[in-house]
């Protein structure tokens, strides 16, 4: 019964976050535009040679998603800080992890939507040849985004409520994300390059393992971070 209440709460938070995001439109559009702009900059830095672009595509795509995504994480708590909504949120009965889960799912949907746009543009700009097993590529993307969003949602709960939030979140988040980014980039790269050495499978397993570890750790630690 209590668990069903928590599930209902998670759904309500997801709905609330996505609705406010949809209504303020500016948020998603500007974040997605930033992702595309970063891709263009990478293209200028690495191009115009087609092979060089293709080799660098995986790295550029993930970094564009990361840099744009960071803005989304702070925004997601910004909504709560206006008018003391976070206070009200913390006053509702029910488990704290439900708040984290709700924010996490809402951010996941937000960043995945952005990823679709950034990847579509990236495939064109970096002259990537889409491999035949493209559904696997989607799986890699999803796993990587889970890792980024789990840690991003967790660290933003602190940074958004501290001084210098713009610099603090990347400073805390980027070093923590190195394993996830490395695994995502390498898996994507190996896959786009035809995966001759069959390396992407190992990276995908590693990525899934990292996701699980960070998911468990952040769910356990969230209560300490949100309550003060």
């Amino acid at each position: 019964m209590a668990f069903r209440d928590d599930v209902r709460r998670i759904k309500a938070i997801v709905w609330k976050d996505l609705t406010t995001e949809r209504r303020s439109k500016a948020g998603f559009n500007s974040v997605a535009s930033l992702g595309v702009t970063i891709l263009v900059l990478f293209g200028l830095a690495l191009g115009p040679d087609g092979q060089a672009l293709r080799d660098a595509a995986a790295g550029a795509l993930w970094l564009a998603v990361l840099f744009a995504g960071v803005l989304a994480f702070n925004r997601s708590y910004q909504v709560e800080l206006e008018g003391g909504a976070l206070e009200a949120l913390l006053l509702y009965p029910g488990s704290r992890w439900a708040i984290f889960a709700g924010k996490l799912i809402a951010n996941l949907i937000f960043v995945l939507l952005m990823l679709v746009i950034v990847v579509a543009v990236g495939i064109v700009l970096f002259q990537v040849r889409i491999p035949a097993q493209w559904p696997t590529l989607l799986g890699i993307m999803a796993l990587g985004v889970v890792g980024i969003v789990v840690l991003g949602t967790f660290y933003a709960a602190m940074s958004s409520r501290s001084r210098a939030r713009e610099v603090l979140l990347p400073l805390l988040l980027y070093p923590m994300l190195i394993p996830v980014l490395l695994a995502s980039m390498e898996a994507t790269k190996a896959f786009l390059g035809g995966d001759l050495l069959n390396a992407s499978g190992a990276w995908i397993q590693m990525l899934a393992l990292f996701d699980v570890i960070f998911l468990v750790a952040t769910f356990l630690a969230f209560e300490y971070v949100i309550e003060v």
């Binding site: 660290y155 923590m176 394993p179 990276w203 630690a221 971070v225 003060v228």
Partner: protein, 237 residues
């Protein structure tokens, strides 16, 4: 049980002076001993001597961050502010030795590989560790409320420590140029004795540093309280 506050702790136990002098003299002795007794390496020549600082610095870096992990867990569990101050002190000292490890690694890499930085797995992991704890110390400086600072930095410290083996695993998979793990058992005895002695000396020095820093942190906290008490004419705050 109510959480303890610093004013209830009384003055911290000062780090004994003999420990500081002892550690320093021991350190001088072990350095001279190691350099004097080790013959030039067949491959690396006298560059090998760098090992007597590089390896112990790396070891105490990890030991210091181990202290951060344990103290952070203890703080979240018991809400003892002293554990928070200890974690902060260990993180500062650990970052110092981490920086030393990185610089020496680069100095060693230049003549060995011909480049300052080779993206070798161990060096890269150490760099990531350094960045994680730069973030930890920045977080501490950006948050004023001590309780919030304690809880947040404990969470960041614990997650950072969890991340260390994960970073190591992924970076090693990604690329490794480094020689095979410099296992002490693989070293010939004339190198090994000097290395072990230096490990001991560095450990003592680190204990002394952390202790002194912790003592200072306790006094800083006590001074805050005393100033406030004086301002309010308060006799039990």
């Amino acid at each position: 049980m109510s959480p303890a506050t610093p004013s209830q702790f009384g003055p911290p136990k000062p780090a004994p002076v003999w420990l500081g002098w002892g550690a320093f003299l021991f350190f001088l002795f072990t350095q001279v001993y190691a350099v004097a007794t080790s013959p030039a390496d067949a491959m690396m020549g006298h560059l090998q001597k760098m090992m007597y600082v590089h390896v112990p610095a790396a070891w105490v870096t990890f030991a210091a961050f181990g202290v951060v992990l344990v103290a952070s867990l203890h703080f979240l569990w018991k809400e003892d502010e002293r554990a928070d101050l200890l974690a902060a002190s260990a993180a500062e000292v650990g970052s110092l030795f981490c920086g030393l490890t990185l610089v020496l690694g680069m100095l060693w890499g230049r003549p060995t590989w011909g480049v300052w930085w080779s993206w070798d797995a161990r060096l890269t992991s150490t760099l990531v560790l350094f960045l994680i704890f730069v973030g930890y110390l920045s977080l501490r400086s950006f948050v004023e409320d001590p309780h919030r600072r304690g809880q947040w930095s404990a969470a960041v410290g614990i997650l950072g420590a969890i991340n260390v083996p994960i970073v190591w695993m992924s970076v090693r998979w990604w690329r490794t140029l480094h020689q095979i793990q410099s296992n002490p058992r693989g070293l010939s005895p004339e190198y090994l004795r000097g290395l072990l002695l230096n490990l001991a000396a560095f450990t003592l020095l680190t204990i002394w540093f952390i202790w002194r820093r912790y003592e200072a942190a306790r006094y800083e906290r006590a001074a805050e309280h005393a100033a406030q008490a004086a301002a309010l004419g308060d006799n039990n705050g």
